[in-house]
Subunit: 145 residues, 2 copies
Amino acid sequence: MDIASFDKASSAGFLANMMARLFENRLAAAIRPLGLTPAQFMTLLELWAEEGQTQAALVARLAVEQATMAGTLGRMERDGLIERRPHPSDKRAQTLHLTERARALEALATEAAQAVNARALAGLTPEEQALFLDLMARVIGRLGK
Amino acid sequence: MDIASFDKASSAGFLANMMARLFENRLAAAIRPLGLTPAQFMTLLELWAEEGQTQAALVARLAVEQATMAGTLGRMERDGLIERRPHPSDKRAQTLHLTERARALEALATEAAQAVNARALAGLTPEEQALFLDLMARVIGRLGK
DNA sequence: TCATATTACATAGCATGCTATTTATATGGA
DNA sequence: TCCATATAAATAGCATGCTATGTAATATGA
């Protein structure tokens, strides 16, 4: 009967984990020359789109825990990518601003990330690529409850 | 022109990361009552299939770095899931063996993991599920170079 | 208005993953 | 046999992610 059988090669969770680790490793290698890490890049994407956001706003947009974002922002400040300024109306909060260094990295970093995505999907037809993104979005929606 | 535009909602890497974190969080919650973590579960899958493997064998099968596996095995030994025995013919190596506690967890743990997978894929037709696994495997193959 | 609840953020502790280094043992060839 | 190289593990250091807590400030409602 093999009641407890579990084939990791056909486990969605196992494949998702392996795929995500590969994506992260490739992205890390691609942006390391820029002095960036994957979490920093993800955070910069939000700040390139709109500067002056609070930590809480980034937490909501990137769907990581607040403590995780606090750690990433601390390393970004340490590395000269962002500055924190007091929030104009809420003494609990701070607004987050890019340094010149961070602004200058936008084009190179996004191109590097797009290259990783392109390489990952290179074996799929355009229709398959679109379907793949759609399927991932649907699984995310389901797991997000 | 928006040369540097990057829409994370349509980035395969971003979606893969989010999906994998959700899978891992759900699995962690599901097996936490058993006293297991995701990496421990993944390692147990290999040892349930074949006891007495070396660390190097697990590294090859699970595609994590040797240092990562060493850490996971250390925590598993600490938690009473595995024992290390001297390798019969190679003094550098050790063989890894399950404790009774670990053997007793196989059915419950695999059922919990299968439930997470089933829930994640519940919104997909059987054809879409098969296609999804195939697409992930192909992307993994491509990223693995 | 004042007590209570909520919110923003920091911090501690831990698991997982990676790179790099070190130590001990095996192995292959000169 | 001996040396150079390869292999098995351990360890250190760091990034990311999570849970759980603590603190200060704000919002809410009786």
